[in-house]
C-alpha cells in the first residue's frame, strides 16, 4: 500500500518541471559544500538578485504560451539604463520611471504589431529590435556617457519591508495577480487556446491576435521593470546591462515547465527556475569556479535539465 503511494509520489515529483528537482538538488549540494549559502540572510539576497530575471521570465513565459518569443529585453534595458543615467532625460523620478515603463510597453507594442499584423517571425523581430536599440544606445553613448543610476532606484534596491528586501516582495506581488489572471480570466483561457491551436482559435472567433499583442506589451513592460531593478543593483549605467537576460528568461521558462504553446508550469515554475539559476551562479562562484567553469557548468545543467524533461514528456506529446 505504501509502495504505490511512494511510486505515485515519485512519478509526480519526476513529472514536475526540472526547476523544482533542480532547486532541491542544488540546495542539497549547497548544504553539503557551502552551508553558509543557506542562511536566510543570503537566501533573501539571492532572491533579490533573481528578481529581475524573475520579472523577465514572467513576460517571456506569457509570450511563449501563445507560441511567440521575446528576445528584445536587452535592447529595452539598454535604452532604459541610458535614459536614466546619461542625463539625456532630466526629469524627476516620478516622471522618468513611468516613462521608462511606458517605453517598454511601446517596444512590446511595436514587436506585437509586427508579429501579429505583418506576421513576421517573432525570433527575428525581437532580435532585430534589440539590435537596433542597443546599437543606438552604443552610438549615442559617445556623446552622452552613462553615469550613475538615479538614487531612488538604488534606494529601492536596498529597501526592506518588515526585514524582507522590498524587491522580492514586488516580485511576488507581480506573480500572484498574473497567475490568477491566467487561471481565471477569459484572457488566460484564450491564451491557452492560442497556444494549443492558433488556427482553431482564429476560426472560433476568439480575439487571438489581440491576446498575442497584449502578451508582447506585457513582456515589454516586464523588460523595463527588470531594467529598473538591475540598474538599482548595479548602481551605474552600463550598455551591456541585461544583455543575456532574454535568453536566460527563456531558459528559466523552459526549466519552469513552459513550452511553446503550453503553460504546464504555471507561473510558479519559471519563478523557481529563476531563483535556481541565480542560486547556481552564486554557488559556483562560492566554489571558486572561474568564469569559464561557470559557463561550462551552466551550459551543461540547462542542457541536461531540458533533455531530461523533454525525454520524459516525449510520449505524452504523441
Amino acid at each position: 500500500m505504501s509502495r504505490t503511494v511512494l511510486y505515485r509520489a515519485a512519478s509526480f515529483v519526476l513529472a514536475l518541471p526540472p526547476a523544482y528537482l533542480g532547486t532541491a538538488v542544488l540546495l542539497a549540494s549547497a548544504a553539503a559544500l557551502r552551508p553558509n549559502l543557506l542562511s536566510p540572510f543570503l537566501l533573501l539576497l539571492i532572491l533579490r538578485q533573481a528578481a529581475p530575471l524573475g520579472f523577465a521570465a514572467i513576460g517571456q513565459s506569457l509570450v511563449m504560451r501563445c507560441r511567440s518569443l521575446d528576445l528584445s529585453s536587452g535592447g529595452v534595458i539598454a535604452v532604459v539604463s541610458y535614459l536614466l543615467t546619461s542625463g539625456v532625460m532630466p526629469l524627476p523620478w516620478p516622471l522618468a520611471l513611468p516613462l521608462c515603463v511606458l517605453f517598454g510597453a511601446l517596444v512590446g507594442a511595436f514587436n506585437g504589431f509586427l508579429i501579429v499584423r505583418v506576421r513576421a517571425s517573432a525570433v527575428i523581430v525581437t532580435l532585430a529590435v534589440s539590435m537596433i536599440l542597443s546599437g543606438t544606445v552604443i552610438a549615442l553613448s559617445q556623446f552622452h556617457a552613462v553615469g550613475d543610476a538615479p538614487e531612488i532606484l538604488r534606494e529601492m534596491g536596498r529597501a526592506r519591508v518588515a526585514g524582507v528586501p522590498l524587491v522580492p516582495v514586488l516580485w511576488i506581488a507581480a506573480l500572484v495577480p498574473t497567475a490568477l489572471l491566467l487561471r481565471r480570466s477569459a484572457f488566460g483561457r484564450v491564451l491557452d487556446a492560442v497556444g494549443a491551436n492558433p488556427r482553431a482559435a482564429g476560426l472560433s472567433g476568439l480575439p487571438h491576435l489581440r491576446v498575442v499583442f497584449i502578451a508582447h506589451v506585457v513582456s515589454g513592460v516586464m523588460s523595463a521593470l527588470s531594467g529598473l531593478m538591475l540598474l538599482g543593483f548595479v548602481g551605474v549605467g552600463n550598455v551591456k546591462l541585461g544583455a543575456d537576460l532574454a535568453l536566460n528568461a527563456l531558459a528559466a521558462s523552459i526549466l519552469g515547465g513552459i513550452n511553446f504553446g503550453s503553460g504546464r508550469g504555471g507561473m510558479l515554475g519559471p519563478a523557481v527556475a529563476a531563483f535556481m539559476l541565480v542560486f547556481l551562479f552564486n554557488f559556483l562562484t562560492s566554489l571558486g569556479l572561474g568564469e569559464p567553469g561557470k559557463l561550462m557548468l551552466q551550459g551543461t545543467l540547462i542542457g541536461a535539465a531540458a533533455l531530461a524533461y523533454c525525454l520524459r514528456h516525449k510520449d505524452a506529446a504523441h
Binding site: C66, R67, S68, L69, L114, I115, V116, V118, R119, A120, S121, A122, V123, I124, V125, L127, A128, V129, S130, M131, I132, S134, G135, T136, I138, A139, Q142, P198, H208, L209, V212, L247, L250, A251, I254, N259, F260, E291, P292, G293, K294, L295, M296, L297, Q298, G299, T300, I302, G303, A306, L307, C310, L311, K314, A317
Partner: protein, 308 residues
C-alpha cells in the same frame, strides 16, 4: 529540366535586389569601393560569415536554429592557436564540429528539446571551454593555415576561392544529393516525410553536424586570417548568420531556402558594413542598420502563422 522552383528557393526581388542596389550605390558614390584592395578585403571579411551562414542554412531548412555557431568558431580559433601542426588543428576543429553538431542534433531530433534551448546550452558550455583552452587572445597559428587563408592562387585571392568552394559544395549537396532532397522534405512537413520513408531524425542530426562543422572551419579561417586565436571571436556570428539567412529569403519555419539566397544575404550584410566604413559612419551604427535590414526582410516574408 527544371530543378529550381521559385516557391522553394524563397528568392524574391528584394532578396536579390538589395545587394545589387547596394553594390551600385557604393560603386557609384565611393571610389575606394572599386579598388582591388577593397575587394580583397571585402571577400576576406564576408568569407567567415558566408561559411557559417551556409551552415545555418541547412539547420534553418529543417525548421531549426543554431545559436552555438559563435562559440564553435571561438573554440575552433582557440584550438588553431594552440596547435602547432596545421593538420592537427584542422582535424581537431572538424572533430569538434562533428561532436557539437551531433549533440545538438540528437538533443533536438531524439529528445525533442527546442533548438533554441539546446543550442543555447551548448553555446554556453563551449564558450566556457574556449576560455579554458585560450584564456586571452593570442597564441600562434601554423603558418600553413595562414597562407591557406590569405594567399593567392593564380592571382585569385584565397578568401574568394574559399567562398566559391563553400557555396558550390552547399549547392551541390542541396540540389543533387538525397540528403539535400530530404532536408526540404523534413522542413516541409516532418510527419509526411517520415511516412514517406525518410529517416527524419538522421536528416536533422546531419543538418546540425553540417552546421557545426561549417562553423568550426569558419573559426579556423578567421583565426588564420588574423594570425591569432580569440576566445570571443565568434560572439556576433550567431545572430549575424541568422540575419544573413533571413535576408536571403530562407523561411525560418523550414522547407524553403537556397544557397543563392544566403549568398545574397551575406553580400547585403557585408556591403552594408563595407559601406558604413567607406562613408565614415560610426561603426556602432552597424547593429542598428543590421537590425533595420532584418526587420525589413522579415516583414516582406508573407506567412500565415503568428509567432515564432
Amino acid at each position: 529540366m527544371t530543378t529550381k522552383t521559385p516557391g522553394r528557393t524563397g528568392l524574391t526581388r528584394y532578396t536579390v535586389g538589395l545587394p545589387i542596389v547596394l553594390v551600385l550605390l557604393l560603386a557609384a558614390t565611393q571610389a575606394d569601393f572599386r579598388s582591388p584592395q577593397n575587394l580583397l578585403n571585402f571577400s576576406g571579411q564576408i568569407g567567415a560569415l558566408l561559411i557559417v551562414a551556409l551552415g545555418q542554412l541547412f539547420v534553418t531548412l529543417v525548421a531549426g536554429i543554431d545559436l552555438s555557431v559563435g562559440s564553435v568558431m571561438s573554440l575552433a580559433s582557440a584550438i588553431a592557436a594552440t596547435q602547432a601542426h596545421p593538420l592537427a588543428a584542422v582535424a581537431l576543429a572538424t572533430a569538434l564540429g562533428v561532436a557539437v553538431g551531433a549533440a545538438n542534433g540528437l538533443g533536438v531530433a531524439l529528445a525533442g528539446v527546442h533548438p533554441l534551448v539546446m543550442t543555447l546550452s551548448t553555446a554556453t558550455f563551449l564558450q566556457g571551454l574556449a576560455y579554458v583552452v585560450l584564456p586571452i587572445p593570442g597564441g600562434a597559428i601554423a603558418p600553413a593555415l595562414g597562407a591557406a587563408a590569405t594567399g593567392q592562387v593564380a592571382g585569385i585571392p584565397a578568401p574568394l576561392l574559399w567562398c566559391a568552394a563553400a557555396a558550390l559544395a552547399a549547392s551541390l549537396v542541396l540540389r543533387r544529393t538525397r540528403f539535400g532532397a530530404h532536408l526540404f522534405a523534413v522542413g516541409g512537413h516532418p510527419r509526411s516525410a517520415y511516412l514517406n520513408g525518410v529517416r527524419v531524425q538522421a536528416v536533422v542530426v546531419g543538418a546540425y553536424v553540417w552546421c557545426s562543422v561549417a562553423a568550426a572551419w569558419a573559426g579556423l579561417f578567421l583565426a588564420a586570417r588574423v594570425s591569432a586565436g580569440d576566445p570571443a571571436l565568434g560572439a556576433s556570428y550567431a545572430l549575424e548568420s541568422v540575419a544573413a539567412v533571413a535576408l536571403g529569403g530562407v523561411q525560418l519555419t523550414g522547407g524553403v531556402g537556397s544557397v543563392a539566397g544566403v549568398v545574397a544575404g551575406v553580400l547585403s550584410l557585408g556591403l552594408m558594413t563595407n559601406g558604413l566604413n567607406l562613408f565614415g559612419v560610426s561603426p556602432f551604427m552597424r547593429g542598428v542598420l543590421t537590425g533595420a535590414l532584418l526587420l525589413a526582410a522579415v516583414s516582406l516574408q508573407r506567412r500565415r502563422i503568428v509567432g515564432m
